[in-house]
Every structure is written in C-alpha cells, then in structure tokens.
C-alpha cells in the first residue's frame, strides 16, 4: 500500500489546468467542455479521495499535493461540477480530509477556516454568489434551512421553464415571445449535470418533446447522450413518450440502446424465453418500435448482429422474441394511430408479410397447415422468380422469414402431428435452413429432408422404439458434413422425440448421444426453450410431452 505508486496515476496537473481553464464555466465552450469531462472528473475525484483519506490533517495532504486547495476550491465554484451525480459528495469528502481536528500549525488553522468557508458556501447560504444575507436570515426566522429553500426554488424554476417551453410550442408565430433555438440549446446544456436529479424530470421531458421550427436538432448532443446513458443505466425514469422521442431524434442513442439490450441478453444465462421477453420488454424497444423508423433501425442492428455471429441460435431466438413482442405492442396500439405494415417492411412482398404477421393463436390449429402452405407457396414463387438474383435480396427475404420463427417451429411440429401438405411445409423448412440454391444445395436438402421425414413418419405411431429404429436419422446428424441438413434433421428429430408415441422413452439417450458427438446441443437447447415458451403461452395438452421437455431442458442446461 505504498502511497507513491498511486501518485503517478493521478493526473493532478491535468485536472488543475482544466479547472483553471473552465473558471466558473461562463462561456458556452467551457460549459460544453465541462460536460464532456464530468464522468472522468468524478473518477479522478474518487481516486484522489482514496489517496488522501488515510492522511491525518491537511499538512500531509498539502505536502503530497501542494495545489490541492486551488483545485478543490475552483471545482467547488463550478456549478456544473457541483451539480453532477456524486461529484459534490466526493468533493466534500476530500474537503473533510483536509480538516484537522487538532490543528498543529498556522497552515492547518488556515486550512480549517478555508474548508469551513467552502462548506458554508456549498451548504448554507441562500445564494450562489454575493451576500444575500437578508434571505438567509428571513428563512432562519421562519425556522427553515437552505435545504427547504432550495427545494422550493428548484421546483419553481423547473415549472417556470417548462411553462415557457410549452407555451412556445403553441405560440409559433409570435416572434416577440418566442424562445430562440439557441436558448433551448443552452438550456439543454445546463441540464447535462443535473439529469439524475429527480426535480428536473419534468424539464427533461419537456425538452425531449420540444420541437422548434427548424429541421436541425435543437438540443445539444451532449444532453441527448447523457439522458440516454442515464436511461439505460436506470438512473432516471422518464415517461415512455419522452424516451421514444429521444430515440427518434438522436440516432446514436437508439443504436446504443439496442446494443445495450443485446449485451444484457448475452450476459445472462438464458434459461427461459420468459426471462428473455422480460428483459426485452423492460428495454422499451419493442414499444418504441411502433414507430416505423425505430423498427427499421433496430431491425438492421439485429440483422448485423446475426451476420457477425454467423447465425448463432441465441441471436436468432432473441430476434424472434423481439419480433413477437413488437407485434404484440403493434396490435395493442390505438387503431387510429397505427402505421400500415408497409411502413415497417417497405421492401417486401406485402402478402407474404401479412401472412407471416398473423399470430398462430389468431387461427384455429386445424388451419395452421394450410396457412403454412400458403406462406410456403408465396415464398417459393418469390424465391424462384428470376428477378431475385442477388444474394442480398435472397438474404433479406430469408431474414424476414427467420424473424417470424414461431411459424417455422410450428411448421416442424405440424409436419409430424398433422401431416397435411407435407411437401410445402417441408420446403419452407428447407428454405430456412438452406436458402441458397446456386449449386442446387436447397434442392438436395429438400430431397434428403423428404427421406428423413418419411423415415420418421413410418415409426411415428410406434409405441415401442429403440434408438436403432432412428439410426438412419441419427446417422444423418452425426455423420454428414453438410450443415443445413444436419440442422434440419435435428429439428425434425427433436420434434419427433417430443411428439411421437414412443419417442419419450429414448429421447434422453438420443439427445445425449447427438450432443456428445456434434455441437448441435445449443440448437437443440434453444429449440426446446422456444417450444416451452410456446407451450406456456398457448397450452400444450399433452402432459407427457411437457414433462419430457422439461427433463430434456434440465439435462441440456448443464451442457450448454
């Protein structure tokens, strides 16, 4: 714990220079500069406090940091620094460190007096500068303190500013009374340190919803970024309309919010989709996505994430849950304020979109296969149309379908349970797992898939099964190199094990065998989670299936 090692780390000179440069932050440039440095300054102050807190009295501290008085003094007179987050607390701790309970010499006496003056300036008087003694004595005579006075004063100022801004919204053409754009910009800068002070929330809300006449953004970017940070870290709570307005007017904030959501989801162990749904809903992004502009940007970001992770099943699952939640929010919207679907999916074939957007629970289960065939036919027509030549277009269509993964899971289920129109439904799955067809990969996949399917259907109703009966299918998964087929077959096989008459007996054995040899356990895991989520929402009557599902999940959780 040598003190020397920490000294070089502290950039004392740098911050002292900064403090001198900022002065009391009276010019716009200095104000903006302060705002940019507030978080690092707080960090520094914490480190400074840690360094000097062990020292007794001010002599030692002054020996180590001769100019500490200058630094702390200047910072105490900078309202941006004092107003920010915890900076004032740390500053006051530092000041207390410089106070000696038994002053030994003149320096310490002077330091004591200086510390008390500063603290009085911060806590007691009823004016920032100057000597408004009368107000202070008046307040004392009433039996109140500066705490009470400032509680009311800040509230009044906020109300006054809010009223002024709101009036201006309606005032429009009245130039005399109108608030200029630069004034609003300045107000937004002054608010930056104060964002996490709850008294300011009405003002923040009004600013975020404020639209002046100009097309350029009036609010300062420092303000917008800082508000976004505070919202993402849950340090303040704003009404949803204000948050959506923030994301609509400041693209970097929206991007940050989306990436923040993805980070959160990756960092927690996803055991159930209920949890995923909760986290996603909590981020307010599905609700915000009711604005088509927000939806399209979030969608792009998700798309990129999927590409970067090379189609990882977690990401795909997250995207599918997000889309479901978005649809829920969209359908709950007031009919009059709804945007048409085309606004969200402008470049896609609208009938296909409409088909995919139908939620399964909106249709009777008996109709599902038909609906899937309908989707499959449209898709086939689109994809095999010679106009769709580029890979990008193909990818876009594929991504659209993938977002509505609920239908894909149901497709696999329906193939085994209902077995109506199997070719079309199978084609849909084949497309999902193998969209490209330049070298006839998809066609081959389709052929093999049919073989597997027929194989499985033959033994679907057998009550007594052994692993050997499924050998062919299992072999396809464990043996072949071609990735698409492996995943498709796994999907079919897993569903088979869940829903067939005899599958439950050999399910664990089968799955474990596959998991050992291949690395598809994650795929299976996410498939099972999605199925469980669907069961919870719609209710699967077959208890045995549910039980089996939970057992398999337990088993796999340890492996994933």
């Amino acid at each position: 714990m040598a003190q020397d090692t920490t000294v070089p780390k502290l950039n004392f000179e740098y911050w002292l220079d900064k403090a001198v440069e900022w002065g009391q932050a009276t010019t716009l440039e200095s104000q903006k500069d302060v705002c940019l440095h507030l978080p690092q300054l707080q960090e520094f102050l914490h480190q400074l406090y840690e360094t000097i807190k062990h020292l007794q009295g001010s002599t030692a501290a002054i020996e180590q940091f001769p100019l500490i008085g200058q630094l702390l003094g200047r910072l105490c007179w900078n309202p941006f620094v004092i107003g920010y987050d915890e900076s004032q607390k740390v500053l006051m701790w530092c000041l207390c460190c410089l106070y000696s309970s038994e002053p030994q010499n003149a320096v310490e006496l002077k330091a004591n007096s200086w510390v008390r003056s500063l603290l009085c300036h911060l806590l007691c008087s009823c004016k920032w500068e100057g000597n408004e003694v009368e107000t202070s004595t008046f307040i004392s005579a009433l039996g109140y303190t500066s705490a009470d006075y400032y509680y009311h004063l800040v509230k009044n100022m906020v109300v006054s500013l809010v009223t002024e801004l709101r009036e201006n919204q309606f005032n429009g053409l009245n130039i005399q009374e109108s608030v200029s754009a630069s004034h609003v910009n300045a107000v937004s800068i002054f608010c930056v340190p104060l964002i996490t002070l709850p008294d300011l929330t009405p003002l923040l809300e009004t600013l975020l919803l404020y639209h002046g006449g100009s097309s350029k953004e009036i609010l300062s970017s420092e303000f917008l970024e800082a508000v976004n940070e505070a919202v993402l870290k849950k340090k303040i709570s704003l009404p949803e309309s204000a948050i959506f307005s923030l994301w609509l007017r400041h693209l970097p904030s929206l991007e940050k919010a989306t990436l923040h959501l993805l980070d959160r989801l990756f960092s927690i162990q996803l055991n159930s989709l209920e949890e995923v749904a909760r986290v996603i809903k909590d981020s307010l992004l599905p609700q915000a996505a009711s604005h088509p502009a927000i939806f399209r940007i979030v969608n792009e970001i998700f798309k990129n994430a999927l590409v970067e992770t090379e189609g990882a099943s977690e990401v795909m699952t997250i995207i599918q849950v997000f889309t479901q939640l978005f649809l829920q929010a969209y359908q709950n919207e007031n009919k009059q304020r709804k945007f048409p679907l085309k606004a969200y999916f402008p470049h896609h074939h609208q009938p296909l979109v409409r088909g995919l957007v139908r939620r399964p629970f909106e249709l009777p289960t008996t109709y599902w296969s038909q609906h899937l065939k309908h989707i499959s036919d449209m898709l086939k027509a689109l994809v095999e149309d010679t106009n769709i030549s580029s890979l990008t277009d193909l990818f876009e269509i594929w991504f659209l379908v993938a977002c509505f993964g609920e239908w894909l899971d149901i497709a696999a289920e329906q193939l085994l349970k209902a077995a109506v129109e199997p070719d079309a439904v199978l084609w849909l799955l084949a497309f999902y797992y193998c969209p490209k067809n330049e070298n006839q990969q998809r066609t081959e996949t389709m052929v093999e898939a049919q073989a597997v399917y027929n194989n499985l259907m033959m033994v679907f109703s057998c009550a007594d099964l052994s692993v050997k009966d499924l050998e062919a299918a299992v072999h396809r998964i464990t043996g072949i190199e071609q990735c698409c087929n492996q995943r498709l077959t796994t999907h079919l096989l897993t569903n088979f094990l869940l829903f067939s008459a005899g599958g439950h007996k050999i399910a664990q054995e089968c799955i474990c065998h596959i998991a050992e040899i291949t690395d598809t356990s994650k795929e299976v895991y996410y498939l099972l989670i999605r199925t469980a989520y669907r069961f919870n929402n719609s209710g699967e009557e077959n208890q045995r299936t549910v039980k089996l599902l939970n057992e398999l999940l337990e088993k796999l959780t340890s492996k994933v």
């Binding site: 107000t135 400032y150 340190p193 002070l197």
Partner: protein, 392 residues
C-alpha cells in the same frame, strides 16, 4: 408523556445555543450528544406526526419556552438539518467538535448511512441546479406570477403560517411574530414576498407542506391539508400586517406595480376596499391648476400621487375583473356625486377620472370634446371645497 414534553422543551434551547458563542466549549462528545438529541427529536416527529393530539400537545410545549423564533412541531422533523447547518456556520465551534460534525454530516462511504440520507448532497445539487437554471432565465413573465426566488420565499412563509394556523395561538401574538419575521427583510422585499404569498394563495400552491421532501412519505394529514378556511386565515393574517399600519400600507401601494395591485384587489375584497380608500385620500389632495390645465399635487414634499399616476391606477383597476371594475366605478361615481356630480372637466377629480375611464372604455369622442386640460374653464362659484383657485 410528560417526560417527552419536557424533553421537547430542550429543542429551542439547543438551537439557540448552537447559534451562540457557547459552543466554544463543546468537544466531540458534546457534539455527539447534541446530534443524538436531534435524532431523538426526529424519531419523535416520525412517530407522532400521524397523531394530531400529540402533535398539538408537543407544539404547545415548544411554544411555551419561546424566545424567538417560534418553533412548531414540524420543526422536530427538520432539526438535524437545522442543528447541523447552524453549527457549521458557527465559527466559534472548536476544531475537534467540528470534525465530528463533518463526520456526521458527510459520512464517508465506510461509515454506513447518515441519519438524514441524501441530505447534504441533494442540497448542494439543488443549489447548483438553481445557479444553472438561472443562467437561462429570461425577463420575468407577466404578473402576477412571481419570479422563482420570490416565490420560494413566499411558499416558505405560507407554509410556516399554515403550520401556525394549525396550532392555534392567539391572533395578536401571531401578527407580532409575523412582523418580526418580515422585519428580517428590507421593506421592499417584504412587500414583494407578501404580495407573492397572496397571489399564491389564490392560485393554489398545492397541499404540500414546505420543507425538504426527500424523506419518504408525505407529511400531509387529512385534517391538516390546506383547506380554504386555512387559506383564509393565512390571508387574514397577512392583511393584518399589511393594513395594520397606514404608513406601511401606503408604502406598499406605492411600491408595487399597478397591475399587480389591481390583480390582488380583484381577488381580495379587504384589499380593494382599503386600496380604494387610499386612492380616495390621495386623489382628494389634488388641486386643479387652470393655468397649466391639469391637476397637481397640493403639497410637493408629501408622499402623494401625481394625477397621471392616479389615473393609471384607476385604469388598471378597471381592467381587472368585472366585479372590481364595477366596484371601482361605483366608488368613483359616489365620490363624484358627493362632489356635486359635475360632468365637465376640471371641477372634480372624480369626474375627470370617470371620464378618462369612459374614454378608455367607450367612445373616444368624449375626450375629444372635453379633451386635454388646455381648455380654460370658467369657475362656477360655490362648489368644490378643494379648489383653492382664487376667484377674482
């Protein structure tokens, strides 16, 4: 309970000592004990504030031992801050005790929570906020909305008066206390604060009580919320102060902007009556100077109104609410009648004022016919006692 009452009497003593030079002899133990007391009082407040009888009883005890300032039950809820800040400002406090105080007010992270969590930091943040938001201050909005600092002072005054109102004391004592409190401000400021308070009473300031609301739970009791009756009492008290002293009232009316006064007069009948009386007094001191063709003050050195001011004030009053306008015009008409009910200029101040009012309100033709003061008038003898214009 008697014990508690006895203890509560110690609070004023404690606060008084904390502001005096007696703290010179305090050491860190004494300080600890003082803070213990405030914690205890705080605890009492939290326990008893939902029980009106105890509230009243303790409040009465507090007042019994009163020098000044008067304290009340809610003060118990604020005493940590009161004591802490008073001691901090008191330079006589020796270093050891002061260090202890700082340790208590601003506990370092290792020490756990302070008795008033959030207290110093939020105050400092709010101070900074007030400074920053003031940077974006624009010219004051049209009256009668008071500017934020004034409004804050007025809100605290009202809160305190409301607290007083709940613990019934004799009215005379209350007015005396109000006088002494308002004396802490320079007179113009005191006028502004009182005017702002009267405006707030009419506009509604919510049912909150003053004080730092960071402590959770609102301190509103059903019976103690600001009711109309309570507001009337408070207004009554303010008017006792305002109207109790004629000089003060006249200074008040001279100081405040006309429109502001008109607004208040429109909402408070006590004020409109007294104000009209005052204007009558001032108006009756004007005399007509036919050489200049206008009304002038009879005595230059007295604090009287000039004709233009008088006219402006009456115009403002007539621009107020309908009730006020009618009241004003009725008063003017009565005065005109008493004067002899003349309909031409230059004979009675009240006639002229009424004509001005009509000129503003109705046809402009009237002032054209009789317009200005340049028209010389032949005096009709035997009329106005205040026309000291010598008849040849």
């Amino acid at each position: 309970m008697e014990v508690v009452r006895g203890q509560v009497e110690q609070l004023p003593v404690l606060l008084a000592v904390s502001r005096s030079a007696l703290v010179r002899d305090w050491d860190s133990l004494t300080l600890d004990r003082a803070l213990e007391w405030t914690r205890y009082f705080q605890h009492l407040y939290d326990r008893f504030r939902a029980r009106p009888q105890l509230w009243e009883a303790l409040g009465r005890r507090l007042r019994r031992s009163q020098p000044y300032p008067l304290l009340s039950f809610p003060t118990l809820g604020r005493c940590t801050q009161l004591l802490g800040l008073a001691l901090l400002e008191n330079r006589a406090l020796p270093p050891a005790a002061c260090r202890r105080l700082l340790h208590n007010l601003l506990p370092p992270p290792s020490a756990g929570t302070s008795p008033a969590p959030g207290f110093p930091e939020v105050l400092v943040r709010r101070k900074a906020a007030a400074c920053l938001l003031a940077l974006s201050r624009r010219p004051p909005r049209r009256p009668p909305v008071p500017e934020p600092q004034l409004q804050a002072e007025a809100q605290l005054l009202l809160s305190r008066l409301q607290e007083e109102g709940q613990e019934v004391g004799e009215a005379a004592g209350q007015v005396h206390w109000l006088c002494s409190v308002l004396e802490q401000l320079p007179q113009p400021r005191a006028f502004e604060v009182v005017a702002a308070a009267l405006v707030l009473l009419k506009q509604g300031r919510g049912t909150e009580q003053a004080g730092d609301r960071d402590r959770e739970g609102s301190s509103s009791l059903d019976g103690y919320q600001a009711s109309t009756a309570g507001d009337e009492c408070t207004a009554g008290l303010l008017f006792s102060w305002l109207l109790g002293n004629q000089e003060r009232f006249s200074a008040f009316c001279l100081y405040l902007p006309y429109s502001h006064l008109a607004f208040l007069a429109g909402h408070y009948s006590q004020l409109s009556r007294s104000y009209l009386d005052l204007l009558t007094g001032w108006g009756s001191h004007l005399i007509y100077d036919p050489l200049q063709g206008r009304w002038v003050k009879s005595c230059i050195d007295k604090a009287e109104l000039a004709w233009e001011e008088l006219r402006e004030r009456f115009i403002c009053l007539c621009q107020g609410s309908t009730l006020l306008k009618e009241q004003t015009q009725a008063a003017l008409q009565l005065l005109r009648t008493q004067d002899g009910d003349f309909k031409v200029c230059g004979l009675s101040v009240w006639t002229d004022l009424l004509m001005e009012g009509e000129a503003m309100g109705h046809s402009p033709g009237v002032s054209q016919i009789f317009g200005g003061r340049s028209l010389p008038f032949i005096l009709i003898s035997g009329c106005m006692p205040f026309l000291s214009f010598p008849i040849g």
